[in-house]
């Protein structure tokens, strides 16, 4: 049976598959949602039924409620939704992140969600999936974005941390709590000193450890083992919302760094006002986007959130049929979400025990009222 319509269309509620009657990462409540990953702008509350990768289950249940109607799949496992064949494939973005493969009426479409090609050791590496139409993100779709290798990156971070530790100054590394933080923890040289995680980061560490990902031992700032002397050599991993909050005061004269793909540009580094910017992203860089698009074998490419016009024009100039969907996933600016997070942190004050115990807001809340960061959930 041939089907000549589009398998995915832009619908006011999200990306929609008409023959399968389901949505992918919808931003308004729908009956059935296929979720690519647990970041707040892709996985939202209020859907009737959820379908996601098995490694996303813990994060989704923590965030959206233990009682959500959630069906999980392993990578490559197939499910039929109204006669449409649906399977999930590794996207290499964060734990449990998936590309959605949709096959129906002789066509194959793949929606990428967020992805990166670099293997970071904390999630299943990206696997290209052959398709007729590839729906790609474009967060860093400019040639200026080329990521350093994992080796260069951690050599840089370790050198920074060592230098601070020798000078007796605490190193504070700001990174988004879900994905980025664990990637950093996994890669740093834990022999340099103790590692302390913010209350918003620790529950995510647990989710990773539960899936067998090796992370070095981490402390909470309230642990008895954490003394003034420990802090002098310590690496603190905290969400950006912690910057400027009372929580930071205990570290005295600390050095700080920010881990984000936006740190590639000096202006963004300076605006952050941190000592160091480390170029770390869980999105594909410019060569990565091109490699993924080429590897998909698709001739028709639909571009979503990020530098959409750039990517579309470039594709059309290079022989692809490039189109775009406008979505409500995080846009290219890192600024607004960060500001909103900071407000949130201020309101929370310094209630460390409480923020440790409750749902990690910074990590998982979608801050639905503000535009979210492309780099962020």
């Amino acid at each position: 049976m041939k089907y000549s319509g589009d398998l995915v269309v832009a619908h006011p509620s999200g990306l929609y598959c008409p023959p399968g009657n389901f949505f992918i990462d919808p931003w308004r409540p729908v009956d059935r949602a296929v979720i690519t990953h647990g970041h707040g702008d892709h996985a939202r509350r209020g859907h009737g039924a959820y379908l996601a990768h098995v490694q996303s289950a813990r994060v989704l249940r923590t965030r959206l409620g233990a009682d959500i109607d959630l069906q999980t799949l392993a990578y490559g496992e197939t499910v039929m939704l109204n006669g449409v064949r649906v399977s999930l494939h590794p996207a290499g973005h964060v734990l449990g992140s998936a590309q959605v493969r949709i096959e129906y009426g002789g066509q194959v479409w793949v929606a990428s969600g967020d992805y990166k090609l670099q293997h970071d050791g904390t999630c299943t590496p990206f696997e290209p999936v052959r398709c007729d139409v590839f729906i790609t993100e474009s967060t860093f779709a400019l040639p200026i974005y080329r990521w350093p290798t994992q080796h260069e990156l951690f050599a840089d971070i370790n050198a920074w941390w060592s230098r601070n530790a020798e000078a007796g100054q605490t190193s504070v590394l700001f990174a988004y709590a879900f994905g980025k933080a664990q990637r950093l923890l996994h890669g740093v040289d834990a022999s340099i000193g103790p590692i302390i995680c913010h209350g918003a980061v620790e529950p995510l560490n647990e989710a990773y450890r539960a899936e067998g990902i090796t992370l070095p031992p981490t402390l909470r700032v309230t642990d008895a083992a954490v003394t003034k002397d420990t802090l002098k050599r310590a690496l603190i991993v905290a969400p950006p919302s912690a910057a400027g909050s009372l929580w930071m005061r205990r570290f005295g004269d600390y050095r700080d760094g920010f881990a984000s793909g936006w740190m590639q540009v000096r202006g963004s580094r300076r605006r952050r006002g941190v000592d160091r910017g480390f170029v770390v992203s869980d999105h594909a860089d410019w060569p990565g986007l091109q490699a993924a698009i080429t590897a998909s074998g698709a001739e028709r490419i639909i571009v979503t959130h990020g530098s959409v016009p750039v990517m579309v024009r470039w594709l059309n100039e290079h022989g692809w049929n490039g189109q775009s969907f406008s979505t409500e996933y995080g846009d290219e600016e890192g600024v607004d979400a960060a500001a909103a997070e900071a407000d949130l942190a201020d309101q929370k004050q310094d209630n460390t025990n409480a923020s440790d115990a409750i749902v990690p807001q910074d990590a998982l809340d979608d801050n639905a009222s503000t535009s979210a960061d492309g780099e962020r959930q």
């Binding site: 040639p143 540009v265 000096r266 202006g267 300076r270 160091r276 750039v310 024009r313 607004d336």
Partner: protein, 600 residues
């Protein structure tokens, strides 16, 4: 280059002053003197003449990175800095060759200037292959002449002072002129910067035509009611008009005359009238003052027109002008001459000076039509002796005596302004714009002449007049540069071509501004711009006019080159008029009434 690149990175990535000073000192102590010589030149703000046209840099980058022009432009607008954009686009290389900073300058960069395009192309391509990735940015910054890494000249001076173990004031003195555009600093120049003090103080012999560091004023914006509490009585202050020209030092020593601008460029050749005037002064004299275009009273029309202006204004606005006049009379008395009245006659708007300095060669016509004078307001050296440690009052007496003893048409004495109290002075100050000045300078009578912007030795305040302002609509936006690279932060503003009842009226652009908003406001404006974009013209977005801003500017003049027919100077955003709909933005007519000639 490796060590300089590391220094660049350290300075760029640090937000702490202490860390920056440490990094500079460590570099200077370890570097070869010929490298340190160049490092100081660049860090202190030196810029060699353009080595390669920026167009060539762009084209070659596009070629090696295989990018269409539009995509290069998108990158540039995301980054906001040409050197950085190129550094992020050059392909990786494994053929890096290490050269010292001095060798890069003398063997590679400086020789590029003036070469034919094919040679430049060939050399740049080779240089780019030979640069390690982390050297690209400083290399390109040197090449585009925009090496700013968040260190001030003062910090460079402090680092040098620590390395040399010499007083920072002495180092500041030695640094004068070091960053001239044509300078080729050598190991010997660097050695002179950090040499120990000769017994007996200053290294007099080495001075030649060297100027002194300029003493800079701080803005004074307090409400009038607080003046007495903050400043004391006006009598403690020497009050002068703040001239709107080019700040300069005239150095007269041995057989020579040197004229240095505030940017520490040697500009003697550009002002032959002043050079001739300098020759009439005794050797061992250094004056501080303002270069102004001045049409002497020989031009009868000018005088009449200006007298008319004055009369008209008296009639128009009696109170203000009478006060100004009485203040001038006071100044007049203090000078026992008519120099103060000459203020009304001779000074020409800054635009005239701009016209003059934009000329490559000075023909007789421009010298006749835009003659310059020095409005002298301080003396720093007299009879070969540094008098900067004398009081302002004593230096003023010396200056008055000097000008009286050596009269010259190109030498004017900056007149003093007197007033019984600050309120009277504030009224007098309102005449400032008509007088072609920017307000008042307040100089403590007992203060010495300091170095740079310090407040340690003395105090100069600039008490500027409020800027001219209009309410204008935002019609174009562009992404900013540097830290604002991801925000639409550069705007073009327009006023209406006609009154509200004119159905066919349009918005006429007249000014660009990118400063004056808080980060928060900028983010809000950015959000609105994004939602109201109509069209793209390269990096520029035209937007639905929905926002009105009060724009301030320092000056306004007719300009046939602009669509609106006028040009404004130093436009900036004073505030966002969220209370005003676009229909209530000002009109071109409002703007025209602000022209100086409209007030005659």
């Amino acid at each position: 280059m490796k060590t300089f690149a590391a220094l660049y990175r350290a300075l760029d990535s640090s937000t702490s002053n202490r860390a920056k000073l440490d990094a500079m000192q460590a570099y200077l102590r370890a570097a070869a003197p010929e490298d340190a010589a160049w490092a100081v030149y660049f860090l202190a703000g030196g810029k060699p003449r353009q080595l390669v046209p920026t167009r060539t840099l762009r084209e070659l980058t596009r070629e090696v990175a295989d990018l269409p022009e539009w995509l290069f432009d998108e990158c540039y607008h995301a980054v906001g800095d040409l050197a950085e954009t190129i550094s992020l686009l050059l392909p990786d290389t494994d053929a890096a060759v290490e050269r010292s900073l001095a060798v890069w300058m003398s063997d590679e960069l400086l020789p590029l200037r003036g070469q034919p395009p094919d040679i430049i192309r060939e050399r740049l391509l080779r240089q780019w292959r030979e640069l390690a990735p982390d050297e690209r940015l400083p290399y390109l910054k040197l090449m585009t002449g925009s090496l700013r890494v968040g260190v001030s000249k003062l910090q460079v001076t402090q680092a040098l002072a620590a390395v040399a173990d010499v007083d920072a004031k002495e180092v500041a003195q030695r640094l004068m002129g070091y960053t001239q555009i044509s300078a080729r600093p050598s190991a010997a120049d660097y050695a002179a910067l950090i040499s120990p003090l000769a017994t007996g103080g200053l290294l007099r012999d080495a001075r030649g035509g060297q100027p002194y560091p300029f003493f800079l004023a701080h803005p004074f914006n307090a409400p009038l009611a607080h003046f007495d509490a903050l400043l004391g009585a006006p009598n403690d202050w020497q009050i002068e008009w703040k001239w709107d020209g080019i700040r300069a030092q005239l150095v007269r020593r041995d057989d020579g005359v040197w004229i240095w601008t505030r940017g520490e460029e040697l500009a003697t050749e550009r002002f032959p009238e002043l050079e001739a005037m300098g020759q009439s002064l005794p050797a061992g004299t250094v004056l501080d003052g303002e270069i102004l275009v001045w049409i002497a009273s020989g031009s009868a029309n000018q005088v009449t027109a200006n007298k008319d202006t004055a009369n008209n204004e008296v009639a128009h606005n009696g109170a203000t002008m009478l006060d100004a006049t009485s203040a001038l009379n006071a100044a007049d008395r203090s000078l026992a001459g008519d120099a103060a009245l000459a203020v009304l006659e001779g000074v020409q708007p800054f635009a005239a000076l701009q016209k003059r300095i934009s000329r490559k060669t000075l023909g007789p016509k421009i010298l006749r039509e835009q003659p310059v004078v020095m409005m002298a307001y301080d003396v720093l050296e007299a009879d070969g002796i540094d008098v900067r440690n004398e009081s302002q009052q004593r230096r003023r007496e010396r200056l008055e005596a000097l000008v009286a003893a050596h009269p010259h048409p190109a030498l004017h004495l900056s007149p003093l302004v007197r007033g019984d109290d600050w309120i009277a002075l504030a009224r007098t100050r309102e005449a400032a714009r008509r007088m072609g000045t920017e307000g008042f300078m307040l100089k403590r009578r007992d203060a010495t002449y300091g170095v740079g912007r310090t407040k340690a030795e003395g105090l100069w305040w600039k008490w500027k007049i409020d800027p001219l302002s209009v309410d204008a609509a935002l019609i174009y936006a562009q992404r900013g540069h540097g830290r604002r690279a991801t925000l639409y932060s550069d705007y073009t503003f327009a006023v209406w071509s006609g009154p509200p009842d004119d159905a066919g009226r349009t918005l006429v652009p007249f000014a660009k501004a990118y400063s004056g908003l808080t980060d928060d406001e900028m983010r809000q404006v950015d959000g609105i711009v994004r939602k109201t974009i109509r069209e793209s013209f390269g990096p520029v977005r035209s937007v639905e006019p929905t926002m009105v801003f009060e724009l301030g500017f320092e000056g306004i003049a007719r300009s046939p080159r602009h669509k609106s027919g006028i040009a404004v100077r130093f436009p900036r955003i004073l505030r966002w008029r969220t209370d005003k709909p676009v229909a209530e933005a000002d009109t071109l007519d409002t703007l025209l009434t602000l022209l100086p000639e409209a007030n005659t």
